[in-house]
C-alpha cells in the first residue's frame, strides 16, 4: 500500500466517522440519560435530511436556514415523542419503551415510504470542490460535515456544562439521587429527547448535500450508531466521538482488504472490546433491565 493510498483511506475513515459521530451522539445521550434504547433514532436522521431538502431545495431557503429548521423540527418531534410515547412506557420498563420506539420507527419509516416513495432527495452542494493534497482527494462537502460535526460536538460540550446539562449528567449518573437533590427529572427527560433528536436532525441536514437522502438512510445508519455507542460506552459523549472515528477508520481500512466482510471485522473487534471492557472505551456497561 502506498502512503498516498494509506492517507486516502484514513481520510475516508475520518469522513465516515464524522457522520457516525453526529448520529451516535444523540443516540448515546438518550440512552445514557433516559435509559431508552431508541430504535427510532435513525428515522430522526432521515427526517432531518428530508426537512433540509424541503426547506433548501423545495422552498429555496438558504442552507443555514434549512439546518436550523431541521434542528428545530426534530427537537419538537423529539418532545412530542417523549410526551406521547416515552413518558407513558418508561414507567413499565426498558423493554416496553424499546418496543414502543421500534413501533414508532416502523410507522415513521413506512409513512415516509408512502409519502416520498423510494425517491432520492438531493440538496445542491454548499461547496462543490474536490481538493487534492499530495494526491489525497478531499471532498470539500465532506470536510464541511467533519467541521460541522466538530462544531456540534463543541456546542454539545458547552451545553452539557450549563445548568440543564449538568442535571442531565446527574440523571444519567443516578436518577434517584438526582431527584433527591431537587432535579426535575421530567424536565430533564424531555430536554434530553429534544437535544438527542435535534442532533440527529442536524446530522441529516449536514449530510444531505454530500450523501443523497433516501427513506431507508435511517435504517442503514442505525446499526452503525449502535456499534459506536457500544464501543464508546453508554452515555459517554466523548466515547461516542472517539468510537465514531475509530469505527469509521476501521471500516475504511477493512473494506480495502476484505470488502463486504468489513462489517465482520468491526463486529469481531467490538466483541473483543466488549469482552475486556463491557462499558466500552469511556462509558459504563449498558443498563441491564431488572438490575
Amino acid at each position: 500500500m502506498t502512503l498516498q493510498l494509506f492517507l486516502q483511506i484514513l481520510v475516508n475513515g475520518l469522513m465516515i466517522g464524522a457522520i457516525y459521530a453526529l448520529v451516535a451522539s444523540g443516540f448515546t445521550l438518550i440512552l445514557g440519560v433516559l435509559q431508552v434504547f431508541n430504535f427510532a433514532q435513525g428515522q430522526f436522521y432521515m427526517l432531518g435530511a428530508f426537512a433540509t431538502y424541503a426547506v433548501a431545495s423545495v422552498l429555496g431557503a438558504p442552507y443555514v436556514v434549512a439546518i436550523l429548521a431541521a434542528l428545530a423540527a426534530m427537537a419538537l418531534l423529539g418532545i412530542l415523542v417523549y410526551f406521547s410515547i416515552i413518558k407513558w412506557t418508561l414507567r413499565y420498563g426498558f423493554f416496553h419503551t424499546m418496543l414502543a420506539t421500534v413501533a414508532f420507527g416502523t410507522i415513521v419509516g413506512q409513512a415516509a415510504v408512502l409519502k416520498f416513495g423510494y425517491s432520492t432527495a438531493v440538496v445542491a452542494a454548499v461547496v462543490d470542490k474536490t481538493l487534492a493534497l499530495g494526491g489525497v482527494s478531499l471532498n470539500s462537502g465532506k470536510l464541511l460535515v467533519l467541521a460541522g460535526a466538530l462544531v456540534v460536538m463543541g456546542l454539545l460540550y458547552w451545553f452539557m456544562r450549563t445548568k440543564i446539562g449538568v442535571a442531565m449528567q446527574a440523571c444519567a449518573e443516578n436518577r434517584e439521587v438526582a431527584c433527591l437533590q431537587g432535579i426535575n427529572a421530567g424536565k430533564v427527560f424531555w430536554v434530553t429527547m429534544a437535544v438527542g433528536c435535534a442532533l440527529c436532525g442536524v446530522a441529516g441536514a449536514l449530510v444531505v448535500p454530500v450523501l443523497s437522502a433516501s427513506t431507508n438512510m435511517g435504517q442503514l445508519i442505525f446499526l452503525k450508531a449502535i456499534i459506536v455507542v457500544l464501543v464508546g460506552g453508554t452515555g459517554s459523549m466523548a466515547g461516542a466521538l472517539l468510537a465514531a472515528f475509530l469505527v469509521g477508520i476501521v471500516e475504511s481500512f477493512a473494506f480495502q482488504y476484505v470488502e463486504s466482510f468489513a462489517p465482520l471485522v468491526i463486529f469481531a473487534l467490538v466483541a473483543i472490546l466488549i469482552y475486556f471492557r463491557p462499558g466500552g472505551l469511556l462509558g459504563k456497561p449498558l443498563p441491564i433491565p431488572g438490575q
Partner: protein
C-alpha cells in the same frame, strides 16, 4: 371522570401526533382504490398478510378471478408492482370485467408481503395464498424465495409466473412454474454496451455490486458478458448493502485503474453516492449503471455535473420516451391519472402479468393445466411495458418446455445531462447474446436441430445465429 390539565395536554398532544401520522399515510396512499377484502365467492377472505384491492364495483356472487402476487412491500419494486397490478385490475373491472370464454370475471389482485428474501415470510405468505385463500395463479413476485414458493405451488397445481435470480424455477421436474421474468436471457443489454464501450477504447472493466444474492449473480453474468465481448474483467468488488458513504469503495475502484466500471444492482441513492464518490477520487472512465430512471439521472447530474456522466450508456425501464404502442401509451396515461406521478421501477418487473394475460386471452380459459400447456409451448413474443418478452426452452437444463423468458430492455445514452433513447434490445439479441456469453451454442444447436429455430418478434436486431 376529570382529567388534569397536564394529562389533558398530553392527551391532546398524543391525538395530534396520531393525526400527523395518519395524515402522512393518507397523503401517500393510493388515491382511489377500493378494498374488497374477503368478499368474493371463491373462498375465505384475506387475513393478516394477504390484502386485495381492485377498482370497480362488485357483488358477492360475481365470478372473481383472483390473481396473487408475492411482493416485498418494503421495496420500491414491490410497491410499484402492486400499483400496476391494481391498475390492471381496475381497468378490467371498470370496463365491466374480464371476459374469458362465456364468463365475465371481476379481477381481484391479492397481495402477500414477503419481506426481503426472508424464507420464513415467503413460506407463510405462499401458504396463505395457496392453502387458505385458494389462489390459483401467482403472477409477479419480488423479494420472495422462489424455491420456497414452488414447494407449495407445485403440489397444489398453482400456476407460478414469476421472477427468479437463480435457476430454481426452470428445472425440468417442475410442472406449473414459468419464469416469466428472468435475467438468464438478458445479456443483450450488457453485450451491446460492452461493444459500444470497446469501440470507444475501453479495455478493462470492474464490476461493483452489493453483497447480495442478486449482486453475486449479477457480477457473474456481467463479468461473463464483458469477457465474451472482449474486455478484461477485473476482480469484482462487493460492498455491504448498508453502505452509506461510498468513499472506501470508490478509493478501491480507483486503485485498480479500470477503464470502465459497471454498477450492477446499484440504484437510487446508492448509485448517486457511489458515482459521486468515484468522481471525488479523480477517476475518469466509462460508467455503466445497471438501470437508471429519469429521476435518478436528474439527481445524479445535480450531484456530479453533466460532464462526468456524458456518454454514459445505460439500460432503462421507462417506456415513456420510447413506446409508441397505443395500448402501452394507454397504460402510461392510466398510471399517471391514477397515481398522479410517475415511477419506472415496476415497469420491467411487471412483465409476467402480460404473459399471463396473453395466455388467458389466447386460451380463453382459466384452467391452470390449459394455461400451462399454452405457456410451455410458447412460440411468440408478448408485448410488455418495456418491449417484447418471449419464453424459451432451457435445453442446457434438459428442460425443453418454454419456461424461461428473454425480457425487453431499452438502452440509452446520457447526452447533456439527459437520457437519450438509443435502441430497444431485441428478444433475438437477448436470447442469442446470452447463449454466446454462457458458451452454450452446442447445446442449443442440438435443440434447434430437433425443434427448429425460435421465431422472434419483428424487431431490429444486431445479432444473428451466424454470430454465435
Amino acid at each position: 371522570m376529570r382529567l388534569g390539565k397536564r394529562r389533558l395536554g398530553t392527551l391532546v398532544l398524543g391525538v395530534l401526533f396520531l393525526a400527523l401520522i395518519a395524515g402522512l399515510v393518507a397523503c401517500g396512499g393510493e388515491k382511489s382504490t377500493e378494498s374488497t377484502t374477503g368478499t368474493t365467492q371463491s373462498s375465505g377472505g384475506a387475513g393478516a398478510t394477504g390484502t386485495s384491492a381492485a377498482g370497480g364495483s362488485g357483488s358477492a356472487d360475481e365470478p372473481v378471478l383472483r390473481v396473487g402476487a408475492l411482493l416485498s412491500l418494503d421495496s420500491i419494486q414491490g410497491v410499484e408492482m402492486k400499483k400496476w397490478l391494481q391498475l390492471f385490475a381496475k381497468l378490467y373491472n371498470d370496463a365491466g370485467g374480464w371476459k374469458i370464454g362465456e364468463t365475465t370475471y371481476r379481477v381481484e389482485p391479492m397481495f402477500y408481503d414477503v419481506g426481503m428474501w426472508d424464507a420464513t415470510k415467503s413460506r407463510s405468505a405462499v401458504e396463505k395464498a395457496v392453502l387458505q385463500d385458494k389462489v390459483k395463479y401467482l403472477v409477479c413476485n419480488w423479494g420472495d424465495i422462489p424455491a420456497e414458493t414452488l414447494s407449495v405451488t407445485e403440489p397444489n397445481k398453482v400456476l407460478w409466473l414469476g421472477l427468479d435470480f437463480v435457476d430454481d424455477s426452470v428445472k425440468p421436474t417442475l410442472n406449473y412454474a414459468v419464469r416469466a421474468q428472468g435475467l438468464f436471457f438478458a445479456q443483450g443489454l450488457f453485450y451491446y454496451i460492452c461493444q459500444d464501450y470497446i469501440k470507444q477504447g475501453a479495455k478493462s472493466v470492474l464490476v461493483v455490486c452489493p453483497d447480495t444474492q442478486q449482486g453475486h449473480v449479477g457480477a457473474q453474468l456481467v463479468g461473463a458478458t464483458a469477457t465474451t465481448a472482449g474486455m478484461q474483467v477485473l476482480d469484482p468488488i462487493f460492498f455491504s448493502a448498508d453502505t452509506a458513504d461510498f468513499s472506501p469503495i470508490a478509493t478501491k475502484i480507483a486503485s485498480q485503474k479500470p477503464d470502465a466500471v459497471f454498477f450492477s444492482y446499484v440504484a437510487g441513492a446508492s448509485l448517486i453516492n457511489a458515482i459521486g464518490a468515484l468522481k471525488d477520487t479523480g477517476w475518469k472512465g466509462f460508467i455503466l449503471p445497471g438501470e437508471l430512471d429519469g429521476e435518478t439521472l436528474n439527481n445524479l447530474v445535480a450531484k456530479v455535473g453533466k460532464e462526468y456522466v456524458e456518454g454514459m450508456e445505460t439500460g432503462s425501464y421507462d417506456p415513456r420516451p420510447v413506446e409508441k404502442d397505443p395500448q402501452t401509451l394507454n397504460y402510461i396515461d392510466a398510471y399517471q391519472q391514477q397515481y398522479g406521478d410517475w415511477h419506472s421501477e415496476g415497469c420491467f418487473w411487471i412483465g409476467p402479468w402480460f404473459i399471463f394475460e396473453d395466455a388467458i386471452n389466447a386460451t380463453q380459459s382459466t384452467d391452470v393445466d390449459t394455461l400451462v400447456a399454452y405457456l410451455t409451448s410458447s412460440k411468440k413474443g408478448v408485448r410488455t411495458l418495456t418491449g417484447y418478452s418471449q419464453l424459451f426452452a432451457r435445453p442446457d437444463l434438459q428442460n425443453y418446455k418454454t419456461v424461461d423468458s428473454a425480457p425487453g430492455h431499452y438502452i440509452g445514452v446520457v447526452r447533456d445531462g439527459k437520457f437519450e433513447y438509443l435502441e430497444t434490445i431485441a428478444c433475438k439479441d437477448q436470447y442469442l447474446s446470452s447463449i454466446k456469453v454462457y458458451g452454450l451454442k452446442d447445446v442449443y444447436q442440438k435443440y434447434w436441430d430437433e425443434y427448429g429455430y425460435p421465431e422472434f418478434p419483428d424487431q431490429p436486431a444486431r445479432l444473428d445465429f451466424s454470430d454465435l
